[in-house]
């Protein structure tokens, strides 16, 4: 025993040790309270068995502020239905409020909303998984097959898991080729129909009208705009928790090279379209911009303030060697019915109305995924007189051309691109240089979530 240590110091040491032990125990207890039941998420769901139903019981609806007026309109049209409306973030902008709360409710065994809207198109990847998934399979007697068949081709793909359809799609965000018709006419250009023509025109613009732009590669959703359209296997699920990621595939490298060329020439910006600098200095110089359907009103009209009669939409571009043109998709909300709901009838009726009703969808802010409602929506867009051409053909064509090889995953491609590729581009590297790092980043995100990456 060390007699040099005074008794008081030994006592202090003992106190410190007890304190440290206490802290570790408390932290361990705190860790036990973690609400992340990941192991459950990997197991296959059992056959759906509804809980005991209580006809006419109140249903709780969680929706974002943008969807709440629609739910209120449903309430007005159905005064006999008892509704409790809760406004939440809608899982927009990378939030995962719904998943966090559902995991807590799974722990405590109560509290699930009967209906939930999510602006995150990837949310089916967790909501339809687990022993008792949060989402109920709507195709198992809750929503008629005729209604499900009315959605655009592939629109319900982010809802399809384990042979069931676990949500209804609120809106599509199919990519088209946006262009400023007034500027194009002024410069004597015509809208391209192939990516090769697009590149040639981009090079021409850089030479003849330096400063004008034909695209941007600094948006978080650039992979969905360019690489999805190029049919790049960056996110192809081949089974439950199996994903193929091959960014060295020729269909990825062809798009990387195309963009690298135009970035080097200066006609594709490395900035994002929503940055203050871009809006101030470059918005008026956007000649063409491949991007989602919501760019029309949200970006060109509300954000860029481009006057009426200038912006037009063309069909998605095609690679000359391909049989047909494909496109990608940037967003699109989902409606879930809770498998724990005691009033599945009312809950299903509400999500069906929200996604298919002309009363709501025809005037919604974004393109309806349900085809008959989309027709009405497009007619409404024509009436606004904002666009320089009728966007109907381009939108409808693009809605049916979303390449099915790009799957929803539990990780966000946008977050990976933002944290890995955009900083590399801004440090002077090319997209082609970055493909390896990007692939590693996707793999590193996928594996801890239980994915087998090929």
């Amino acid at each position: 025993m060390n007699n040099d240590v005074p008794v008081s110091s030994r006592r202090q040491l003992r106190h410190t040790a007890v304190a440290a032990l206490g802290a570790v125990s408390l932290l361990a207890l705190a860790a036990c309270g973690s609400a992340d039941p990941t192991p459950a998420a990997t197991s296959s769901p059992a056959a759906f068995k509804p809980v005991a139903q209580e006809e006419g019981s109140e249903i709780t609806v969680w929706a974002d502020a943008g969807r709440v007026p629609g739910v209120q309109a449903y309430q007005k049209a159905h005064p006999d239905v008892k509704l409790k409306i809760v406004t939440y973030s809608g899982n927009a902008n990378g939030a995962n409020d719904l998943q966090t709360k559902v995991q807590l409710f799974d722990r405590t065994g109560s509290g699930w909303p009967d209906v939930a809207f999510s602006a995150n198109v990837n949310d089916g990847t967790w909501a339809a998984q687990g022993k008792t998934p949060y989402a109920a399979p709507v195709d198992k007697g809750l929503v008629p097959a005729a209604t499900l068949n009315g959605f655009a081709y592939g629109a319900l793909n982010p809802c399809k898991f384990n042979g069931g359809t676990y949500c209804l799609r609120n809106d599509l965000a199919q990519n088209v080729l946006w262009y400023n018709k007034k500027l194009m006419d002024k410069f004597g250009y015509t809208a391209p129909t192939t990516w090769e023509e697009y590149q040639a025109l981009g090079e021409k613009v850089a030479k003849e009208h330096p400063g004008y732009l034909v695209g941007t590669a600094g948006d978080a959703w650039s992979p969905e705009v360019y690489f999805w359209a190029s049919q790049c296997p960056a996110s192809t699920t081949t089974g439950a928790k199996k994903v193929t990621v091959d960014l060295q595939d020729a269909k990825c490298t062809r798009m990387a090279k195309l963009l690298d060329t135009l970035i080097a020439k200066g006609s594709v910006s490395k900035d994002t379209v929503f940055s203050a600098g871009f809006i101030k200095n470059q918005a008026a110089k956007v000649l063409m911009l491949p991007g989602p359907s919501w760019y029309g009103q949200v970006l060109f009209n509300s954000t860029f303030k481009i006057p009426k009669g200038q912006i037009a939409a063309a069909a998605p571009l095609k690679f000359e060697g391909d049989d047909k043109n494909y496109t990608g998709n940037v967003g699109g909300g989902l409606w879930f019915v809770s498998s724990h709901s005691k009033n599945l009838k009312a809950a299903s009726d509400l999500v069906t109305w929200m996604t298919t009703s002309d009363d709501y969808q025809a005037t919604a802010g974004t393109y309806p995924a349900y085809k008959p409602a989309a027709d009405k929506w497009l007619a409404g867009q024509l009436k606004t007189g904002y666009f320089a051409n009728d966007i109907d053909p381009a939108f409808k064509e693009a809605a049916e051309l979303i390449w099915p090889g790009w799957s929803a995953t539990q990780y966000s491609q946008e977050a990976i691109y933002s944290s890995t590729v955009i900083p590399a581009l801004n440090s002077g590297k090319t997209l082609t240089d970055t493909l390896g790092t990007w692939q590693t980043a996707i793999t590193d995100k996928a594996k801890p979530l239980g994915y087998t990456v090929n």
């Binding site: 206490g22 408390l26 809760v86 101030k280 967003g331």
Partner: protein, 294 residues
């Protein structure tokens, strides 16, 4: 011997000025920008000089849009914040001041252990406790009620520790003994002697608790399932998510843009600012208490 103060060199003064100037810029520029942002339209914020003044009409417009968001939700959030914060503050003061006093000036079995545990809990990040707290509240069927927020808010070991330090170093035990000799009961000693001396630390504990609770996001976010119960911080998160600036799926026709977000931020800061302005003298006295021994 009288020490003569050496004049500082020009270089040292210059360095001091540069460092202080940078610090002022670093902390003040964002606040100035935020204040000016409310005077401009969204287009002016993006296109005009960042430090230009817009107009007072723009502030009125921004408030009109902000107030219109979910029919005055901003006022509901502020009211909820005030309810949770002041409710918790009352419980905190009632519990932590006597607790700190007892730990500092009385002797009882387990005192040191209690003090050690208080310090340990104080050091733990509050976010780490939120999920176990949720499960606990659910077990006693308090989840989703205002008590699921007020009770954890009022658990404030830092306040107990501050009070303990204050009474240990500023109130002599002999003073309390003299009061006892004069016939005071233990309650009277605490109420009539210790409490009047403890005003600075009460203000300090109250201020820290108020600010911490007012700004807390995660606990009410986890505990409260109903948007009508949201406090300001959770409401602000909803407001951000509803703006087309952060949520492209919200479509058009939404009036929540940069000026409205800046105004909402300022409105939620105001209560903290008012409390700080009214209590700053007591705060300084409380913070300096025990700093020197004479």
């Amino acid at each position: 011997m009288r020490r003569t103060r050496r004049p500082r060199s020009l270089a040292a003064r210059l360095a001091w000025l540069i460092v202080m100037g940078l610090a002022v810029l670093f902390f003040c520029v964002p606040v100035v920008w935020l204040l000016l942002a409310t005077t401009k339209t969204d287009g002016q914020i993006v296109r005009d000089n960042p430090f230009s003044f817009g107009s007072l009409t723009a502030i009125a417009d921004a408030w009109k849009h902000l107030y219109a968001f979910q029919e005055g939700a901003i006022l509901t959030w502020l009211r909820n914040s005030a309810l949770y914060t002041f409710g918790a503050l009352a419980i905190t003061l009632v519990t932590s001041i006597p607790a700190g006093y007892a730990l500092a000036l009385t002797r009882f079995i387990g005192r040191r252990t209690l003090l050690t545990v208080t310090m340990l809990v104080m050091l733990m990040p509050t976010a780490a406790m939120v999920l176990p707290l949720y499960l606990g509240m659910s077990a006693v069927h308090l989840d989703g009620t205002i008590w699921s927020v007020i009770l954890p808010f009022s658990f404030f070991p830092f306040g107990v520790y501050l009070t303990y330090i204050y009474f240990s170093s500023n109130v002599p035990a002999d003073l309390l003994s003299a009061a006892r000799i004069d016939g005071c009961s233990e309650w009277q000693v605490f109420r009539l002697v210790a409490m009047p001396l403890a005003k600075p630390v009460i203000a300090l504990v109250g201020f820290f608790n108020f600010v911490g609770n007012w700004n807390n996001f995660f606990l009410p976010f986890v505990m409260l399932p109903d948007s009508s119960q949201y406090p300001a911080q959770v409401g602000l998160n909803n407001l951000l998510a509803a703006s087309p600036l952060f949520n492209t799926s919200s479509g058009t026709g939404n009036e929540i843009m940069r000026p409205e977000l800046a105004l909402a931020t300022l409105v939620t800061i105001v209560p903290v600012l008012i409390v700080f302005l009214f209590s700053q003298r007591a705060l300084v006295a409380g913070m300096l208490a025990g700093a020197t021994k004479e």
